[in-house]
Point group: C2
Chain length 333, copies 2
């Protein structure tokens, strides 16, 4: 049969009325055992399943995870979040779940969208991304007992020992540590860092890994640029005129592309530049880069929400939480 079996198909197959099939499904006690068995055999034969919306109404379960999707912002590193959404869709599909996307341009609008989804029992859980200190979304989700996990730590004081909610994140410091050790071994001890202006939790985390793995006595040359290829290029071109550098570990591939262009223009093709995010741009230019493993982040998010089971675990709606920290890996080119 090409189309899904209907209740009428079952009735015809079993030689009973539509009402009798409905009774078997909803009030089996009123149906004679023999008839019940005949209807059940027809249901099994035809693979009939009651309408999903009806089942959803009974179980209040939608088998759907809501994910906010930002407007496309362009830029080199935007692909990381998209890779995460791809991976989440695949991994969720393997567990019998779907992913519903919703758009919102501000945290406040995102909260309104989440409230809509909750009110309509449209999703069983929500995945938020791009967390920041004092994030109003996590407060709202906790207050309303909506099961959720964040891609991004809470950026509070006790994220590890006593996390405020479930979260999964990438260990940025471990990534830049790998990058710095590699740069020291392959290019030399004078490894600088090109990061974003202070105040970004993600950026500060990535700087930490560089700082703690610098060789003893090495100058800690720290350069700063916003997430812009052109500005990074200017900053690095200027720095190369004033500092002796063997390598530059960067907080993102956008910064790394700018640094690479500055190195080429300054005749410093020997400068080892390492990026972060392992984007197609880094690959195209042959730059080494730290890979975030979005596929592992997606698996971690689902493990936190579901445990080993196939439904959202109760703790996903409770205050307090657990976390998964994904170890990134350096892709050497």
């Amino acid at each position: 049969m090409n189309r899904a079996a209907t209740i009428e198909d079952v009735a015809r197959e079993a030689g009973v009325s539509r009402q009798t099939v409905s009774n078997v499904l909803n009030a089996p006690d009123v149906v004679r055992a023999q008839t019940r068995e005949r209807v059940q055999a027809a249901i099994d034969l035809l693979g009939y399943s009651p309408h999903v919306a009806a089942r959803r109404l009974r179980t209040r379960r939608s088998s759907t995870i809501g994910v906010h999707l930002d407007p496309y912002a362009g830029g080199i590193s935007g692909v990381v979040l998209d890779r995460f959404v791809h991976a989440l869709t695949e991994r969720a599909g393997e567990r019998g779940l779907r992913v519903a996307l919703y758009a919102a341009r501000t945290p406040e609008e995102e909260i309104r969208r989440m409230a809509d989804l909750r009110d309509g029992a449209e999703v069983d859980a929500i995945v938020i991304t791009g967390t920041f200190a004092g994030d109003p979304r996590t407060r709202w989700l906790l207050d309303h007992r909506v099961p959720f996990v964040s891609f991004g730590r809470p950026w509070g004081e006790d994220d590890y020992a006593e996390p405020a909610h479930l979260w999964v994140d990438v260990d940025g410091a471990a990534g830049t540590e790998q990058a710095t050790r590699h740069a020291v071994a392959s290019a030399g001890p004078r490894v600088g860092f090109l990061g974003w202006p202070e105040g970004s939790g993600t950026g500060d985390d990535r700087e930490t890994g560089w700082r703690r793995s610098l060789p003893r006595g090495a100058d800690a040359v720290r350069l700063v640029a916003p997430e812009s290829v052109a500005t990074a290029r200017e900053v690095v071109a200027d720095a190369l005129a004033h500092h002796d550098l063997d390598a530059l570990v960067c907080a993102s591939d956008s910064l790394a592309v700018g640094a690479h262009l500055a190195a080429v223009t300054s005749g410093r093709t020997d400068l080892e530049v390492i990026g972060f995010d392992n984007t197609p741009a880094a690959e195209a230019l042959g730059l080494s880069s730290v890979e975030q493993r979005p596929e592992d982040v997606a698996s971690g998010a689902l493990d936190l929400l579901m445990g080993a089971g196939s439904v959202i675990a109760p703790r996903a709606a409770e205050p307090g939480g657990a976390h998964v920290l994904v170890e990134p890996r350096l892709v050497v080119r």
Copy 2:
């Protein structure tokens, strides 16, 4: 009120029983007019709306559009489809619709996923992407009368005059025509084309625009490489040794990045290289590129499905169709 109003809230506000509210909603004739008005006033005051799953069960409408999301394939041009998904989510949200993602690795698996969604009344319509000649998905969707639109033309004989189904696509030939005219004006008449091996409808379409806008008498130098930066680089490096070229129009940004790297290595920094897709990689390297306008593609898809209304139009489930062809634009750098 922070949470959504429930049927109990309405009953309390109106001073009636829960059953009476339910009667007003489902069997208003059995309720006295005066009571009905009081309940309706409470419903309006509290902004109560019946459970979405219940409404869905009545209307068989989910206000959701299903979109298949490929596994992340990497590469420079993968971002175009992601931009389309971003734009579709936003535009759909403005029309009160959500986007549901599903994963599948083959057309056959995608058909099974679509069948699941249809059987469960989980989506009102489906958007398929990456159509090809003899695509089994369009056949299945037509046979089962599932409302759908494709991003990508049917690649049949009468796609324009008598399209087999609703489709939206980008006019690739118009894009390479713009690119070729620009290259002739800014670099010179000897404009080559770097495309994929034959047999790709998209690639052949893009080649057409270059071929028809070449200056009369100019040599039509056509180079071929698969979608690979490294191979494109080798092919162009070899070609530059044998042909006099002022510019190279490319079928993708991946090919353009390879061509650009070959030009730089061969000391031909004057060679004008133009890409297709306007990806972050082209932006980072300062290459001109044809922009597909995924936002316009998303709007076109929704216009075809919904017309000017807010529900899926009946024709979206009928054989025969209409199309929207989006004019791309050259971004000059």
